[in-house]
């Protein structure tokens, strides 16, 4: 049906239109994916000899079963994901509901929450490092003035607190994304639903629990899955602020993989972990599109 005009006459122009796409896809996407799949089946010490040696799935087995750093990074990643999820989801949902209730100024507040989305994460790291600085940092000063604690909590420097400090900093930057989703969901709710709740004399909390949240479900699922996938990509903050430390307390999966690749130059192992990460992300995405396809389609 969509077969008219130029389509029959010119194979040449079609080829020209597709040329840039084909170039980038083949050279910078298809080749890297295939090549890293091959490397992941090899032993490849890039610092010493520059040729990969094929060993099959042995490398995967060794990494999954015997690499204790990998296990540690997985556990840290899991911990990170849980707290990151709770904070980002809870805060952005709460703010979305409140901003949606505002009679004026909603657009203004929204824009302020979106600004951190365009600030590079490495700079977010430096800013939070300064705010959370032990002696001169303003947060410890405020806490001290309020009488909550003493001066020198080492937020990024303490093995107990560093991971949470990173959760907060990353969450601060990313909240705008989920806020966009949740606000879009709230604005798509039919007004009649809310009016029905008013007629039934439901209070605001009941309204949220019985009317808003159930109807927001597809958006909550999209936002939640996004947060989980996004938590896996935590790289900049550990790299800039803590370098995985103190100890190994902020060695997230992504950062560990990067260290394996570009500090130890063990390209084989790094590719194996990268493929495992890709698999995890693929499963999360697949779950999202499989189970909630109609809702996803509606949004787009």
């Amino acid at each position: 049906m969509r077969q008219s005009g130029y389509s029959r006459q010119s194979k040449f122009s079609l080829f020209v239109f597709l040329l840039p796409t084909l170039f980038f896809v083949l050279v910078f996407i298809a080749f890297p994916v295939v090549y890293s799949a091959y490397i992941s089946l090899c032993e490849y010490d890039y610092a010493r000899d520059r040729i990969p040696h094929f060993i099959g799935f042995q490398g995967y087995l060794d990494t999954i079963l015997h690499d204790s750093f990998f296990h540690k990074a997985l556990i840290i990643q899991l911990k990170f994901a849980v707290f990151y999820f709770v904070l980002t989801f809870g805060f952005s949902l709460g703010m979305a509901i409140l901003i949606n209730e505002l009679l004026y100024g909603a657009g203004f507040f929204q824009v302020l929450f979106y600004i951190p989305m365009i600030i590079p994460l490495s700079l977010v790291g430096i800013v939070f490092e300064w705010i959370l600085f032990p002696d001169l940092g303003v947060l410890n000063h405020i806490l001290h003035t309020l009488g909550v604690s003493n001066w020198n909590i080492e937020w990024f420097g303490g093995p107990q607190t560093a991971l949470y400090a990173i959760v907060v900093a990353r969450s601060w930057k990313m909240i705008g994304f989920t806020l966009i989703i949740f606000l879009a969901g709230l604005q798509s709710l039919p007004k009649s639903l809310r009016e029905a709740a008013k007629v039934d004399r439901a209070n605001f909390l009941q309204e949220i629990w019985y009317i808003i949240l159930p109807n927001l479900k597809p958006y909550l699922l999209i936002g939640g899955t996004w947060i989980l996938i996004n938590s896996i990509k935590t790289f900049e903050l550990p790299a800039v602020v803590t370098e995985g430390g103190p100890g190994m307390s902020t060695l997230t999966l992504y950062y560990y993989t990067w260290k394996v690749a570009f500090e130890q130059y063990d390209m084989g192992k790094a590719s194996q972990i990268a493929y495992i990460i890709a698999l995890i992300i693929f499963i999360l995405n697949w779950g999202l599109t499989r189970v909630f396809r109609p809702e996803t389609a509606k949004r787009a």
Partner: protein, 282 residues
């Protein structure tokens, strides 16, 4: 009393105040960086710290803009890399999006599905082979070494958006163009591009935001000062000055985010559309 209470309730003043307070706390890190960047150094390191600035001075900005050669170079690199990447992505995705949205060819759906499937792959997985490739052919420490992978990673999003835009255009327009004697490239350039301007804007926003912020590829592929971009360059400035010159570091941070914030405020509708379409990115 009840009258005031009713007004309070009617205009939801309590809610407004609450949201204002939360938002103020939320943007405090930006405000604090700005305040710090305007303070003289001895003020910043006074113990205990004070929140309200005593003296305000532009000396940190003057120092960064006149003495700090590195910063200006990083800024230039960031601008060039971002700009070239955006141009490449816009042209390529406008061309490819046209082919996918308005032409029919064998393997079309398969090719498109393949491009979209790789969107879900984490960027770290590309970085390892791209690093090896660029290391071997000597593309590291160049603008192109960043521009080419950036363009490749953003192209699928551009294609998705542009195909969407082109597939809503009725094909009759093209038949009219055939009759008028336009060749297909003229038709694409003169008729299609103006119609799809909003989609082109969304594509450029996604690319711009990505390339301006990108840290992992830069920190891996660029090791020389003169090719560094802002996200890594400012970290280097911090390392060099130690944290003990936070006023200057803060000034570099403000200088690198203020232009983007201004762009964001001016084009915020495009930004929000672009950011929400591009948010699933690796």
């Amino acid at each position: 009393m009840t009258k005031w209470f009713n007004l309070w309730k009617k205009y939801r003043i309590g809610l407004f105040i609450f949201v204002t307070v939360v938002t103020a706390i939320y943007i405090f890190p930006i405000i604090w960086t700005f305040i710090t960047s305007l303070r003289p150094t001895q003020d910043i390191y006074r113990y205990p710290p004070t929140i309200i600035p005593g003296a305000v001075t532009p000396q940190n900005y003057i120092y960064v803009l006149t003495q700090m050669k590195g910063f200006l170079r990083y800024f230039l690199n960031s601008v060039v890399v971002t700009f070239i990447t955006a141009v490449i992505v816009i042209i390529s995705s406008a061309m490819g999006g046209y082919a996918f949205g308005m032409r029919k060819f064998r393997g079309q759906n398969m090719l498109f599905a393949a491009v979209m499937a790789v969107l879900m792959i984490p960027y770290l997985m590309y970085l390892i082979p791209i690093f090896i490739m660029e290391d071997k052919i000597g593309l590291r420490n160049t603008w192109w070494g960043l521009v080419l992978p950036y363009a490749a990673l953003n192209l699928p999003w551009g294609l998705l958006i542009m195909r969407g835009a082109f597939s809503t255009i009725p094909l009759d327009i093209r038949d009219a163009a055939v009759i008028d004697g336009c060749n297909e490239f003229q038709f694409w350039y003169r008729v299609m591009l103006p119609i799809t301007r909003p989609a082109l804007a969304a594509t450029s926003v996604i690319t711009f935001v990505f390339a301006w912020q990108e840290y992992m590829f830069v920190s891996t592929l660029i090791t020389k000062n003169e090719w560094q971009t802002l996200p890594v360059g400012i970290v280097w400035i911090r390392d060099e000055l130690q944290t003990l010159a936070y006023g200057r570091v803060g000034a570099t941070i403000m200088l690198s985010i203020i232009p983007v914030i201004i762009l964001f405020l001016v084009f915020r509708n495009f930004f929000i559309k672009g950011l929400s379409e591009g948010m699933l990115k690796g």
